[in-house]
């Protein structure tokens, strides 16, 4: 069983830190009620088991499907097929993504129904699909990633002038919210499959990354376009954040189960059907390989259900309560400090982070170690949560005060860091804002905003994900810079005898 234990060990290391911090908080600053605490611990156990199973599922199910699709697409050697199938794939996997449904629901409610949920769903999915297809074409056409991203963000900045500030937050949130636990590994694998076929090994390596980042930009652009074209009046809905009052230990788990199962079935179904279709048309796998992938999909399903159940029923409430209680404290420095440390550890338990860091290790042959990527991500997300807390405490700070300089830094860094790190950085933005941050950190921020006068639950809440999606861009590129400086050969000239 050593393989399983090894994975479990790896997962344990990623979930235990957040559990410890919450436990420490429980005994010091923010005592939790017993049922909440027990639910949290139960949730942690579910998350550990679920994450381990899910990661196995991704390894033998999702990733092989994605790489097979990517390489068989490229082998057709026809640009229009790559573009068209990319469009189709991007659309179908994104419209089924649970996060996008949640986002659409939120937008629907805060605009008072002036933008119906269904049209949001459609527009955002199309936006992502178009960018996804362009991203694939970029790889086969050898168009440099940094130029592509510069152009995309130039467009975003241009559109931002015409977008209302409330919608700006929603738009940047969309970038993080839409790239969920299933779509990210799948997109990463497709990019790998396409770029694997390149003869030039250096290009093949750096082109394995970047597709997720491009797709995220698609989500931002489409939400902005939508807000400009429909010109919604002032946002009417006032989202109230209610502190959870649940006293039962098991009921939330049982209540949440059907929704979680439903969401994941919906999200996994397109991938499974596409696999069957592709297998029939082009892969024609051996029976053993075919069965293995099906098993992988099953693991993915079981793992993700357990994971999300743990997060939604165990972690979310705790996030809200801790945020609320901390914000009530006299000394607001606690809120910022603890926000930082929570950000630091939450990201470790994010499923897609695993997939990305492993892929980085595989693609670079271990040259970029997982631990360093995790470290950079942790620090980045820690800062993003701390800055968000600062923004909640001081209402004068607006979201764009962070986002504008942040993205300008991220984009200018692209021109100096090693090209390999650009793709990784922009992918990690989408990866960091997965189900764990989207629930735990968001609930934390909303709880805090509820407690502080002058803070707006909706606006402040929305901006957090946008921040989490932005800081890794800078953190990972900074890591790239350090690598660039450090990896020079030493003493080559001195020793030239």
């Amino acid at each position: 069983m050593s393989v399983f234990l090894e994975k479990l060990h790896e997962v344990l290391l990623s979930v235990v830190p957040i559990t410890i911090i919450v436990l420490i908080l429980n005994f010091t600053l923010t005592p939790l009620e017993t049922p909440v605490l027990i639910r949290f611990l139960l949730g942690a156990v579910l998350i550990i088991i679920g994450l381990a199973i899910f990661l196995f599922g991704v390894d033998i199910g999702i990733t092989p499907i994605g790489t097979l699709m990517g390489s068989s697409l490229t082998k057709t050697n026809k640009y229009w097929i790559v573009g068209l199938v990319g469009l189709f794939l991007g659309f179908i996997i994104n419209i089924a993504e649970p996060d996008i449904h949640i986002l659409a629901g939120q937008v629907d409610s805060v605009t008072g129904g002036s933008i119906p949920k269904f049209s949001i769903l459609l527009v955002v999915s199309i936006g992502i699909a178009v960018m996804f297809a362009l991203g694939l074409l970029r790889i086969v056409y050898n168009f440099p990633l940094y130029r592509f991203l510069s152009l995309s963000y130039l467009l975003i900045f241009g559109l931002a002038f015409f977008t209302s500030p409330e919608f700006l937050a929603i738009a940047f949130d969309a970038s993080g919210a839409t790239t969920g636990a299933l779509t990210v590994p799948f997109m990463l694998a497709i990019a790998l499959g396409v770029s694997n076929l390149k003869k030039d090994s250096k290009a093949s390596e750096k082109d394995s990354f970047g597709l997720v980042g491009i797709a995220s930009a698609g989500a931002i652009i489409s939400v902005m376009l939508m807000s400009i074209s429909s010109r919604p009046d002032k946002l009417t809905g006032s989202m109230e954040y209610k502190l959870p009052q649940e006293s039962s230990i098991f009921r939330p788990f049982i209540e949440k189960l059907p929704t979680v199962v439903g969401e994941i079935v919906l999200a996994l179904l397109p991938i499974a059907l596409l696999f069957l279709l592709f297998n029939f048309v082009s892969f024609k796998l051996s029976k053993r390989a075919f069965r293995k992938i099906l098993k992988g999909l099953l693991y993915t399903f079981i793992g993700l259900v357990l994971f999300l159940l743990g997060v939604n029923a165990g972690f979310m409430d705790v996030g809200g309560i801790v945020g609320y209680k901390l914000a009530l404290l006299e000394n607001k420095a606690f809120l910022i400090l603890i926000g930082f440390s929570l950000g630091l550890v939450t990201i470790l338990a994010e499923p897609a982070v695993y997939v990305l860091t492993h892929q980085i290790e595989d693609v670079t042959g271990g040259y970029v170690p997982r631990k360093l990527v995790l470290l950079a991500l942790s620090i980045g997300v820690g800062f993003s949560v701390a800055l968000s807390m600062l923004r909640i405490i001081i209402p004068e700070i607006k979201l764009w005060h962070y986002l504008l300089p942040g993205y300008i830094i991220a984009i200018s860094m692209m021109y100096v860091v090693p090209k390999l790190f650009i793709g990784m950085a922009f992918d990690s933005g989408g990866v960091a804002s997965g189900p764990m941050t989207a629930t735990f950190v968001l609930a934390f921020a909303q709880g805090a905003a509820q407690a502080i006068e002058g803070a707006h639950v909706m606006i402040d809440g929305f901006g957090v994900i946008a921040m989490v999606a932005m800081t890794p861009l800078i953190a990972l590129q900074a890591l790239g810079l350090i690598f660039k400086v450090k990896a020079r050969k030493e003493g080559v000239d001195a020793n030239g005898q």
Binding site: V3, D59, S201, D362, G365, G366, Y367, A487, K489
Partner: protein
């Protein structure tokens, strides 16, 4: 420090361990006087019926290649086997192969003289260069009459590359090119690669030749 390859006996040490242990192997070996090592990723399987049924029998492995003088390699071999407890199951395997020729190392200057009297039909030429240069190696080899080559992707560090990042050693990316050649072509191929890539200059890479006693699937 300049030694003569013709008089020295060189060995290639190959260690296959679980993922994550490769860098440790190189570190231990460096303490025993080996100047550098190259690591690449592979996949291995586990022997367990339950895991096989669950289709979880795939494991990531790291393969470490190191070349050095026989005595040094053997002492490194022993230390590695001891420190990693290779005698226990699931801890990895290690083996050595005699090396016929070594080019590109500062310590052992190349002398054109084969070792031993046996006459195998084929040689395996293994070239390790920086990432992205593998294609050039293949091109140079093809010019000299090689029929094909296999490029693997790995990481590694020689004596010129010893920078650290938070106590973690940086091991730059490498490409490992494996070429099987008829013995009479070996010299031409190695010469061509040497000229094209200037492998004898420090920090350009390393190339060594091992004897192969049997091959299948090579088309003349």
């Amino acid at each position: 420090m300049v030694n003569n390859v013709g008089e020295l006996e060189l060995e290639l040490l190959c260690v296959i361990v679980n993922f994550g242990v490769g860098s440790k192997v190189v570190k231990i070996a460096k303490k025993s006087g080996i100047t550098g090592g190259t690591i690449f990723l592979g996949r291995g399987t586990v022997n367990s019926r339950i895991l096989k049924w669950l289709d979880l029998d795939d494991m990531r492995k790291e393969i470490v290649l190191m070349v050095g003088e026989k005595a040094e390699i053997y002492s490194a071999f022993k230390t590695i086997a001891g420190e990693l407890a290779l005698h226990k199951p699931h801890h990895g395997i290690a083996f050595t192969i005699p090396v016929k020729d070594l080019i590109g190392s500062c310590r052992y200057k190349k002398v054109k003289e084969g070792r031993g009297g046996e006459d195998p039909m084929y040689d395996a030429i293994i070239t390790i260069v920086d990432r992205g240069k593998g294609e050039d190696v293949v091109e140079a080899a093809t010019k000299a009459g090689s029929k094909g080559a296999t490029i693997m992707h790995g990481r590694g560090s020689g004596i010129h590359e010893t920078s650290k990042l938070f106590a973690m050693e940086i091991e730059p990316e490498k490409e490992i090119v494996l070429i099987l050649s008829e013995e009479k072509l070996t010299e031409a191929i190695t010469d061509s690669i040497r000229e094209e890539l200037k492998i004898e200059e420090p920090g350009r890479g390393i190339m060594f030749v091992v004897k192969v006693s049997k091959t299948y699937g090579l088309i003349r």
